[in-house]
């Protein structure tokens, strides 16, 4: 990777030399490229015609709109780049380095907001709408924050590129679901067992890949994720194949189920039964699990094992010369990262009540990894912000019904999810190649703690 600092230095000078006429030329070129690229891809749409079957419908307007977007974006990009880009980057880079006191207040405020979130959602949207805000936004985002933080241990701290993280999520979900259904274990017993199972699978994956680095490691972990998914599909006796497992027992409030019966949660607390109770309870459950992940990871980072993970990312040979058993260190990183994935999976199974291999496709691994990379490898705050933006953004696309009025009734904004995902990745790599929070917080200090610039921090070699 090129030094990010050098790229930043070059940008203003090269932008300063770009005159308006140069910008115009570049914008025209871009428009031409867009036309060239979009002609074979979007020019012809297929339409169902009752008389002639499927016919090709030329969409010149769409190509023109795309070309215009390309033209304007390039022009704006070239002319405004110095001001916008530097303002944006400096604004982002200013976020992670507040004084310790401010940071502490900020953390407490964020925690308060998270705890108060269901109440806020209820207050703002009233009864029915609140479930959507708590479930689709709150719970969904927190699951991905937890997965991101779990993967962050492996990728961000230990520097081992893992493309199959969703496998541990799947192991957690399936083991807790099967334990609950076959042995009648309650969620509270199935949850830790699912974590332990996932950790064991993490170690199992760890052994064959110990000697691998970088690309090779990534490919093997990718294959591992696919193997787990294919086993889930094909081992029909155990997993019920593609049909999935349904009727997974829901978590109870320390033995009180969330139903309308006399033994239910509502009756026990003298409340009127409402489906919101369960959703709110699940929200606090995943919040607690996520905070547990954050707390444990933060503690581990300050322990010898966590420092060894980071040292491993920096230089494996030097680690070995200092007597660090890199095999054990890698395996603990895989195991603990997988364990949190397993917890998240167990929660996912209990929340949905139904799981199938479709929930654990490679795309999920890619999304989780994208969250870690966009957030800034190793940074918990960055990963959380990235999860909010990526998952919250996806959910927000469902809310954009008004766009139908512009683009027609068949327009579905959620179909552009991957496009926006890709766009976000490209923009981030251009502006903040090391992710949102590229600095590293030292784990120990003699004097005041100073954040370490991302330029020094290595990304690991797998």
């Amino acid at each position: 990777m090129a030094k990010p600092g050098r790229i930043d230095d070059e940008r203003p000078s090269d932008a300063a030399t770009a005159s308006p006429s140069d910008a115009l030329k570049l914008a025209l070129k871009t428009a031409l490229v867009v036309i060239g690229l979009s002609t074979p891809v979007v020019l012809f749409g297929t339409e169902q015609d009752p008389s002639r079957g499927v016919v090709l419908e030329p969409r010149f307007a769409l190509v023109a709109i795309l070309a215009a977007i390309g033209f304007v974006a390039t022009l704006a990009g070239v002319l405004l780049k110095p001001s916008v880009a530097t303002a944006a980057t400096s604004a982002i880079s200013r976020i992670p380095s507040p004084s310790p006191a401010v940071a502490k207040v900020g953390k407490l405020a964020a925690l308060g907001l998270l705890i108060a979130y269901p109440a806020i959602a209820l207050g703002l949207s009233g009864g029915g709408g609140a479930i959507k805000w708590i479930d689709n936004f709150g719970i969904q985002i927190l699951i991905y924050v937890m997965l991101g933080w779990g993967l962050n241990i492996v990728v961000g701290l230990a520097g081992l590129l893992d493309l199959g993280y969703v496998a541990f999520y799947a192991v957690g979900a399936y083991s807790s679901a099967l334990l609950a259904k076959t042995f009648g274990l309650s969620f509270w017993l199935a949850l830790p067992l699912a974590g332990i199972f996932a950790a064991l699978w993490g170690i199992l994956l760890g052994f064959p890949v110990l000697r691998l680095r970088g690309d090779y490691l990534a490919i093997v972990t990718l294959a591992f994720g696919e193997i787990i998914r294919l086993v889930l599909i094909n081992w029909v006796d155990l997993t019920n194949g593609n049909a999935g497992i349904s009727g997974i027992p829901r978590p109870t409030f320390f033995g009180l189920p969330f139903n309308a019966s006399d033994q239910g949660f509502a009756a026990a607390f003298g409340l009127e039964f409402s489906p919101q109770h369960r959703v709110i309870f699940l929200y606090y459950l995943i919040l607690a699990l996520t905070l547990l992940t954050a707390f444990t990871t933060n503690r581990l980072r300050r322990l010898p094992v966590g420092r060894a993970w980071e040292a491993l990312r920096e230089d494996e040979i030097a680690c070995r010369s200092l007597g660090i058993d890199t095999v054990k260190t890698k395996l603990t990183a895989f195991a603990i990262g997988a364990m949190f994935g397993g917890f998240a999976g167990a929660f996912f199974a209990a929340r949905q009540g139904f799981i199938s291999p479709e929930s654990f496709v490679f795309m999920e691994s890619a999304v989780i990894l994208a969250i870690v990379v966009l957030g800034g490898m190793g940074s918990q705050i960055g990963v959380a912000v990235a999860a909010i933006v990526m998952i919250g953004g996806t959910e927000l696309l469902r809310e954009l019904d008004w766009m139908r009025e512009i683009f027609g009734a068949s327009f579905d904004p959620t179909q552009y999810r991957m496009l926006l995902f890709g766009l976000a990745m490209v923009l981030m790599m251009l502006w903040k190649p090391r992710g949102l929070v590229s600095t590293r917080e030292p784990t120990i200090s003699l004097g005041a703690r100073k954040a370490i610039s991302g330029a020094h921090v290595k990304e690991g070699h797998g």
Binding site: T296, R299, L300, L303, P304, V305, R307, A308, E310, A311, R313, E314, D315, I317, A318, C319, R320, S321, L322, G323, I324, D325, T326, R440, P442, T443, I444, S445, L446, G447, A448, R449, K450, I452, S453, A455, H456, V457, K458, H461
Partner: protein, 343 residues
């Protein structure tokens, strides 16, 4: 001790002196015997034997491609030697019989009251650092550049801290025993920062330090593992004369104040001649001389290796041709080591 090729009477007496010293005193700290290392068809080290005494600074010198770094990589376990024995004895009273028993018993080491005895050629690299307590630095500095100077030194105390943290369990619950161990680790780091004159930069990322400071930090980091043998691979490379002089002071202080012996590879003769107690000269993977710095300085074989032979023009030319082809091959192997073992 096996003598290398070439019958130099001067050198023979030196060997005799070594042998008597070894017999009269104790087993040496490190004894390398008949070490051979082949990379495919290339013999980087050929039946090399030498030893390093306790409390001494032993220098390993030789022209480029002589196999010095390969020897280091074999001692520290980064390479598995093709054949030979590398024995490290923590205590001076370990007898050759003990060593023979260990070798024949197929064990890797023996701990216990009589002092640890280790067969390094059988041990993996991290175990050599953790158990046999051999620390090393690298020709191309290998610091944890994204971690602070202090963190680098605390990572070096990994095994001690790992035990104190109860393999993370006591540490997770914040047990006082672990906190105490961590404070002790910071104190040790502070001591070595003072010794290497880096205290003011403790909280800066290691990658931010200037080159000379990075070299000293690598030595400090190695010393934080409490080694009995410190292997320094060209510690003075790239240092200016003042920094070289500081390095000499530091190494002398390590020898005087700590139970750490030093084995170093160095090209800078001002460092080698000034601080070494004994010098081992390698050429083409074999030992050509071994003795005190004064002895080495006047040894014709060494002078020949470094400057070329004067007396016999024809033999010199022949040797040079052989040198060229040999050196090129060995250089190839050295390039591999330079990258620190297959990165």
């Amino acid at each position: 001790m096996t003598s290398s090729a070439g019958g130099n009477p001067h050198r023979a007496t030196a060997h005799f002196a070594d042998a008597t010293r070894a017999a009269a005193g104790a087993t040496p700290l490190l004894a390398v015997e008949h070490l051979t290392m082949r990379f495919g068809g290339l013999t980087a080290i050929d039946d090399l034997s030498f030893f390093a005494n306790r409390g001494e600074i032993t220098a390993l010198i030789g022209p480029n491609g002589a196999g010095k770094t390969t020897v280091f990589n074999c001692i520290t376990g980064f390479y598995k030697p093709t054949s030979g024995r590398i024995a490290l004895a923590h205590a001076p009273h370990a007898s050759p019989a003990d060593l023979a028993r260990l070798t024949l018993g197929g064990q890797r080491w023996r701990d216990g009251k009589t002092g640890g005895l280790y067969l390094l050629e059988r041990m993996p690299d991290y175990e050599i650092a953790a158990k046999a307590r051999v620390a090393r630095t690298f020709q191309n500095i290998r610091l944890f550049t994204g971690m602070t100077v202090l963190e680098n030194l605390v990572v070096a105390q990994h095994n001690t801290l790992m035990r104190a943290s109860g393999w993370s369990i006591l540490g997770l619950i914040g047990a006082p025993a672990y906190r105490k161990a961590e404070r002790a680790a910071i104190e040790k780091a502070r001591y070595w920062l003072e010794q290497t004159n880096l205290l003011g930069r403790a909280d800066d990322p290691a990658g931010d330090l200037p080159y000379g400071d990075q070299r000293r930090l690598e030595i400090a980091r190695a010393m934080c593992t409490d080694p009995v043998l410190l292997c320094l691979d060209e510690p003075a490379a790239g240092l200016n004369p003042r920094e070289s002089a500081d390095l000499n002071t530091l190494l002398r202080r390590i020898r005087k104040d700590h139970a750490t012996s030093i084995l170093l590879i160095e090209h800078d003769m001002s460092v080698v001649m000034e601080i070494s107690d004994r010098v081992v000269v390698l050429e083409h993977g074999a030992k050509i001389s071994d003795g005190t710095p004064e002895f080495i300085r006047n040894d014709p074989a060494v002078v020949a290796a470094y400057l070329g032979v004067e007396e016999d023009e024809e033999a010199a030319a022949e040797a040079e041709i052989a040198d060229l082809s040999g050196a090129r091959g060995v250089d190839g192997a050295n390039g591999m080591q330079g990258n620190g073992g297959g990165r």
